[in-house]
Structure formats: C-alpha cells, structure tokens
Amino acid sequence: MQAALSVAAIPMVGLPSLADAADYDIPADLPRYKGPQWLQPKLADALRNSALSTRETLAPYYHAITHNNFYEFGTDKRDPVRYAQKFKTDPWKVEISGEVARPGNYDLEDILAPHALEDRVYRLRCVEAWSMVIPWLGFPLADLIKRFEPTTKAKYVQFTTILDKEQMSEQRSSFGTIDWPYVEGLRMDEAMNPLTLMAVGMYGNALPPQNGAPLRLVVPWKYGFKSIKSIVRIHFSETMPETSWNITAPDEYGFYANVNPEVDHPRWTQATERRLPSGLLTPNIIDTLPFNGYADQVAHLYKGMDLTKWF
C-alpha cells in the first residue's frame, strides 16, 4: 500500500468529458475506495452537476488522496494517507440533535437513503494558501436539513467529527493545541446555500478515509478547515456554535472563514495561492478570488457585514 502510493509518474488527469462519474482516470497502482455495498449503486448513479462545477483542471487523484490536513491522524500532509487506511467507516451513525423536529441517532445508510448523489467539481482553498480542484460526490446539505425539520429557533448548525482515540493517534497526543473532537459550524443560510455539499465520495468512488470518509462537509467558498471530515453529529442551535480553530487561535481563524484575498492571516498573506500540483521551477501561483470564486452565489449572504471583522 505504502509502495503503491509512492508511485513514480503520475499522469495528469484531464476533465472528464461525460457526466458519468465512473470516468475518472485513476492509475491502476493507486487504491480505489469502494465504500459499503449499499453506497456503491448510489455512487455509480451520480450525475455531474455542470452548472455548479468548475471547468478547471482537476488535481490528479494521487495528489487528492495523499495531501491531506486531517490532524486526527497526524499533522504532516502525508500522515492521513499513512495512518487512516484501517479507519473503520462502516457501520456509521450520525446523531441529529438540537432544534429539530426529528432528532435521533441514524444509520448513515438511512441518512443517505432518499438522496441522489451529484458529481460536483469544486475549488478547495486551504487556509495555508494552497489549493486543489476536486470532483466530489454528494448531495446538498439543504436537502438533508429540510428532512429533519429544524425549528424556528435553529439559527446555526454545528458539526462534530468522530472522537476515537484508539483509531486517531493525534487525539491521544499531549502536544497539540486542538481540543478534540473537532467541531465546525455554519450559519443556517450558509448551510442552506445550494453550494454547500455533504460529500460521501470523490473521483467517482467512495471517500478515502484520509479525505473524511464516510461523510464530510464541503463548503467551497470557505477555507478548507470549515469542511469538516468524518461527521458523527449535526446539531442545530440558536446561538453561534464553537468551532475548533476559532477556539485554538481566535485572532487567526474566525467563525466565517470565507476565502478573502483582502484579509490576511496574521502570519501570512492570503492574496495568492499555490494551485497543486505546482511545478518546482515554475510554481503554479494564482491570485486568490473573493469567496474562492463563488462570490456570485454567496456574496449576498454577507451583505452589510464588515468582513475584516467577521473574518
């Protein structure tokens, strides 16, 4: 497995021409993640949502599955692919709680049952100033939220990653600043935006464990850390929930964390990003766009807000 991942030549993946999710070019020596049996037909039936997909060049599969920030498995970019392979993602339960008419502890299969999957190609901009273009398989978070009927008091949604010290070494570490489990949150209108995706797959297959299997959030206009992985709890509340990086360093990471070239991280600039893969002698440096290029779809959510204050 380790040898398979350190493959020498990784061919560039072109944009699939068809709306068929099975068409991704995955090198034969790289692992594919099939997911549980019940998920496979859903993944196979996913259709490309062209309207919401970028036509930029995809990150090669190898890059997407070996370059991850999933601190629960270690803080090096290659730690997750090294240490998450045996992570148990099936069976999986998700607790729906708080201000909803139908709270409960549901099997992931039941959570997913009524939703058809879409294939969406999104830009992913990490707060560390690198980015990739990833084809996700998922469904709008809004569709899920509606099913559980949030009450009028539900103003925010909080997500929680699994707490599992046995399987996640960094959760046992005494030398980290994050208080586990990892939590993230969205304002209700952000959660209901059509761009906000609950992902269960990528590159036509199930999510690899290092990418947040079996269920993760994808919010493409926010820095990557908002897109929480391996979700076990979705909680609706009236007040703004705590979020992990905001607790850890409130002056560096805000609740909103919208991609914004105008507002620098206190320790580095956010004006540009390195789009991966990036050549050594010709680094692929591009200008970072407001809301990661999704301003048309989401800028209205923040009308009248001072985004230097609400960063």
């Binding site: 350190s6 493959v7 020498a8 030549a9 990784i10 190898y62 890059h63 997407a64 070996t66 370059h67 601190y71 803080t75 970019k77 290659r78 690198w130 960094e170 570490s173 030398f175 980290g176 600043t177 994050i178 850890t248 620098d264 320790r267 580095w268 600039t269 004006a271 540009t272 390195r274 991966l276 893969p277 990036s278 050594l280 002698l281 010709t282 680094p283 440096i285």
Partner: protein, 196 residues
C-alpha cells in the same frame, strides 16, 4: 601518513558525508518523485529542519567537549557551522524558487507580512559574516574580535527558534524538543559564565 592521521582523515570524511546525507536523501526523493503531492513545501521544510539541527549541533560542540571530554569534536565545529549556513541558504533558495517562483511582488509581501520569514531572514543575514570569517586566516586576522563576532551565534539561535515556533499550527512537539535542547545548550554557557 601515520595511522592516527589516516583515522582522523577517515573520521573527517565520515562526518562530512553524514551531514550531507539529508540533502542526498532529499535529492533521491526528488529524482524518484517520492516527496509527496507538494514537493516544494516538503523540500523547504526539510532543508530548514536540517539547518536547525546543524546549528544546534554546532552549539553542542563546546558542552560536549567540557562535559564528555570529546576534544576531537572541536575540529569539526567549523564544518558544522558551515553546514548550518549551507542548508539555511538552500532553504531560502528553495523557498524563493519553489514556493515563490522569484516573483518580487510576492517576495516583498512575504518579507513584510510574514513575521516568521522576517525573523528567519534576519537569522540568515547574521550567519553570513560568521560564514565569511570562518577561515583560519580570518580567525588569525581578527584575533580577539573573531570570538566576539562569533558570539552572534547565540542571538541567531534564538531567532531561529522563534522562526520555528512561529509556524506552529497545532502540534508543537518538535518545537518543544528543540526549545528544550537550546535551553540546555545556552543555559550551560550561562552557568559557566556565572561560575567563572
């Protein structure tokens, strides 16, 4: 050549190659495309890491001699210092080339907006006169002032530690270890000064 001399020469080459090894491993990884999805970042980080290691090693020579009686180590202090400078220069060049692509506008923002880069650059700048005056000739010429000039290594080591600590995101074990080691290396000297 006397057998003792030959052993000394062998040891010199062994140590010389040992400190070159991390660079060799990096090059091997580069050639076999085994540095991950973001080789640029990886190379910059590794070069910086080893520069710190060699700086700490340079600082360990005197305590090792006085504490463990390793007098032979003193012969290699210049080599350690120059290796520190060499890796630090490569670290900067890799940063400017692989991460910034020598785009002056970005270099300028990095140098003004990233405090840890300012601190790192300052440390490298202060290392420059030390590298330039590292020859025996310069040592003779500068006499007493040489020793004074080379005490710059102490503030440099503190700047380097700050450069390293300032990049902590969550996990701080490495920085903790290096801070602990530096506290011993510098604390030992303070202790000696007090006793004398």
């Amino acid at each position: 050549m006397a057998p003792g001399e030959r052993m000394g020469l062998l040891r010199w080459w062994l140590i010389f190659l040992l400190l070159l090894l991390p660079l060799g491993v990096l090059l091997e990884g580069l050639l076999t495309n085994d540095l991950g999805a973001d080789p640029a970042k990886y190379i910059v980080k590794e070069l910086g890491f080893w520069a710190i290691c060699w700086l700490w090693l340079t600082l360990a020579v005197t305590p090792a001699r006085k504490f463990l009686g390793w007098r032979w180590l003193t012969r290699y202090r210049r080599m350690f210092g120059l290796y520190t400078f060499f890796y630090a220069v490569l670290h900067l060049l890799a940063f400017a080339t692989f991460l910034v692509g020598w785009r002056w506008d970005i270099l300028l923002t990095e140098l003004t907006k990233r405090p840890y880069i300012v601190v790192g650059s300052l440390a490298l700048l202060l290392l420059l006169p030390l590298a330039l005056t590292s020859t025996q000739g310069m040592q003779r010429r500068l006499g007493k002032r040489w020793k004074k000039l080379h005490t710059l290594i102490y503030p440099v080591s503190l700047l380097v530690l700050l450069h390293f600590v300032w990049q902590i995101r969550s996990d701080f074990l490495q920085q903790l270890i290096f801070a602990f080691l530096l506290a011993i290396l510098l604390g030992y000297r303070l202790y000696l000064k007090r006793c004398s």
